[in-house]
């Protein structure tokens, strides 16, 4: 067990999968010689050579489409979209092609590929470099969407994603790259489609993913002082959603809140909230609460970013109100 940076956990997963399977190829903008704009792929081009790890022109739709074709004929491509915002450029090949190949060919072909990207707000990042766009892609049948909040999850889920037989959009978070967490030294895989209970609690469930898992933990910490025991769940898989874990938690707590960095309006939280209301009309003691960014393009000035993003004290206050806790 080693305390490891998130970026290094991603790098180790890629390294091991490149070593394990010759069909794995890695390409994207600046991933080879420069080692990635955030350094995540450093060292891999040197180790595996230009046939396996290579740079792509700035041509997201083109090279994602090339990954689809390569996957269909037997490679296991991992391609990197430098920022999740650029997925919109590649959305034709992701949504119209990668996601549809298996269905339109009725299984004659499929596209076992991983699209790695990173998203989220960092201080001073702009409206075209901050968007949390998971809701768009979780609405597309044929795609799997994974979001890793810890180094161990990034490592174990990415390895599984590369071995998966379907196209996987693998979401990382820019602000998490330099966070650390424990990573076992021995190899392991984590199954896709399963949530992770970060901490157990009895009174309310808080569901989150990526960077906002840490915010959810801060909310839970703050609630301890109010006599509330909050359960925190890291969803990890956004498509499919592990409703089994969510429903079991709600059966225990009776209350659930969803906190994500993406906008509250049209976010994945809305779908989960509606589904839980449909499935658990009796177990819920209160309506599902949703927290996310304001319905605004993300401004650059950090003082503005702060008011657009969901804030921990607001979440604590809203939960306290709904739970009718006495103010302290």
């Amino acid at each position: 067990m080693t305390d490891t940076y998130y970026w290094r956990a991603v790098n180790r997963a890629l390294d091991e999968e490149l070593a394990r399977d010759e069909r794995v190829v890695l390409f994207g903008e600046d991933v080879a010689l420069p080692g990635g704009v955030f350094g995540v792929t450093r060292g891999l081009a040197g180790r595996y050579g230009p046939q396996r790890v290579f740079d792509a022109p700035i041509s997201e739709n083109g090279f994602v489409g090339a990954a689809v074709g390569a996957a269909m004929v037997g490679l296991r491509p991992v391609c990197e979209l430098m920022f999740m915002d650029f997925s919109l450029v590649a959305s034709d090949q992701i949504i119209n092609h990668a996601a549809k190949i298996r269905y339109l060919t009725q299984g004659a072909y499929h596209a076992p590929m991983v699209i790695r990207s990173q998203q989220g707000v960092s201080p001073g990042s702009s409206a075209q470099h901050t968007q949390s766009l998971e809701a768009i892609f979780t609405a597309v049948p044929g795609l799997k969407v994974v979001a890793a909040a810890t180094p161990a999850d990034a490592y174990g889920l990415l390895k599984t994603a590369i071995r998966d037989e379907d196209p996987v959009l693998f979401l990382e978070h820019r602000m998490l790259y330099t966070t650390k967490g424990e990573l076992p030294d021995e190899e392991f895989l984590l199954p896709l489609g399963t949530a992770r209970t970060v901490r157990e609690g009895d009174d309310v469930t808080i569901v989150s993913w990526l960077a906002s898992v840490a915010w959810a933990e801060q909310v839970a910490d703050a609630l301890v002082g109010r006599g509330v025991s909050a359960e925190v769940i890291d969803l990890r898989s956004l498509q499919p959603v592990d409703y089994e874990t969510l429903e079991a938690s709600v059966a225990k707590t009776g209350r659930i809140a969803i906190l994500h960095e993406a906008m509250r309006h049209g976010g994945v939280g809305a779908e989960i909230a509606a589904t839980l209301h449909e499935r658990l009309p009796d177990a819920l003691k209160a309506p599902v609460q949703r927290f996310g960014a304001e319905f605004l393009p993300m401004p650059v000035a950090p003082t503005l970013q702060e008011v657009v993003q969901p804030r921990v004290p607001d979440v604590v206050a809203a939960l306290a109100t709904s739970m009718a806790l006495a103010s302290t």
């Binding site: 190829v25 004929v73 490679l75 379907d166």
Partner: protein, 360 residues
């Protein structure tokens, strides 16, 4: 590439064409044209070529008839008049080579060896169709002959061919990948991105540009300031050749030259096949945008009529031609009968093949 002049550097036509960087590309175009000429020398359409084209045309005509009779829900984008590209161009590929194409791609798939019964049944929404009736007339696929995808997004399948060529290259199979698209698709970013990627990565991709004169319903000339669509390749550093897309021997020779080029590791080639769509953008579309006389003139260049003329000219008898046509008629009738007697796409399986695992 630049010439010094008072007031600064500027680009001249001569400085580009005469530059040492441009010469290898110009030479490559010349080599390919020469090779295509050698391969075409003395070649004429065979009885098989004729039968192959009639097979595609009769299939398209039958499908259009069935559409009119209410047996087909979506539009059918016919390729009538363009059969020589499918028979000569696609037919030049090996079975192991990969093909991606467009929604006007039934002829292409048949040229590659796709099951005729499977094609017709797919268009007629049958469980026995190539994709069990899920995909319809715009997406033929047949893994038995590596027709890997036909996209209904204009230009959408071009990057897939780049990927297939990447796979062939890395997996060392010596296969090439062909992608077919119309001149209209050359205005799409995906086609340019695919050309650029194939050039940058020096992959064995044949870009077969099937110029049928119309970008859906807009005259090709109205869609670009460029005088010649094959030049699209040159700006990506890819050699291009043009060929008569209404002549099986001509288009076959050009594509064979391109395949030889790509298969021997020299990178991608664009082949522009000049043809003409003798029917509307889709079955029943009246083509009111065509100038008077254009269709009549084009009909005189009909590739099937030309093949007949060539066959008779070299002593094949009308009886032999009729016999070949009768065989095809029987085969098409069988495919239609097969489809019409097959079960319609089964709702019980509507959610299969979305993911590897069944959707719960």
């Amino acid at each position: 590439m630049t010439t010094e002049a008072s007031g600064g550097a500027y680009i001249t036509y001569e400085s580009v064409i005469d530059s040492p960087e441009m010469q290898p590309l110009i030479d490559a175009c010349g080599d390919l044209a020469t090779r295509a000429g050698e391969l075409a020398e003395g070649e004429v359409a065979s009885l098989d070529d004729y039968a192959g084209m009639v097979r595609i045309r009769r299939t398209e005509e039958e499908l259009s008839r069935l559409k009119r009779e209410g047996m087909v829900a979506p539009n059918i984008h016919q390729s009538i008049g363009q059969e020589a590209v499918s028979v000569g161009g696609v037919g030049a590929l090996r079975r192991g080579d990969f093909l991606t194409s467009t929604y006007r791609g039934r002829g292409h798939a048949l040229g590659k060896g796709a099951s005729l019964r499977g094609v017709v049944a797919e268009v007629l929404h049958r469980e026995t169709g190539l994709a069990r009736g899920r995909s319809g007339p715009m997406h033929m696929v047949d893994a038995s002959c590596n027709v890997i995808f036909e996209s209904a997004i204009v230009g959408g399948a071009a990057p897939l061919a780049v990927g297939a060529a990447l796979g062939a290259n890395r997996l060392d199979t010596n296969a090439v990948a062909m992608t077919i698209f119309g001149e209209g698709a050359t205005s799409q970013g995906t086609v340019h991105e695919a050309l650029n990627l194939a050039g940058a990565w020096k992959l064995p991709v044949i870009f077969l540009l099937e110029n049928n004169g119309y970008s859906e319903m807009t005259p090709a000339a109205d869609t670009t300031a460029l005088a010649d669509f094959s030049w699209r390749a040159l700006c990506h550093g890819i050699p291009a050749i043009k060929t008569d897309g209404n002549s099986v021997p001509a288009v076959r020779a050009a594509v064979r030259a391109a395949i030889q080029w790509a298969r021997t590791g020299r990178g991608p080639v664009l082949v522009e096949a000049m043809t003409y769509r003798l029917t509307g953008h889709y079955a029943g579309e009246p083509g009111l945008y065509r100038p008077t006389g254009e269709l009549d003139a084009a009909t005189k260049r009909d590739p099937i009529a030309r093949a007949v003329h060539e066959l008779l000219g070299r002593g094949v008898t009308q009886d032999e031609i009729d016999a070949a046509e009768a065989v095809v008629e029987t085969e098409v009738a069988d495919a239609v009968q097969f489809a019409l007697t097959s079960p319609l796409a089964d709702p019980a399986g509507v959610s299969e093949h979305v993911y590897q695992e069944a959707i719960s």
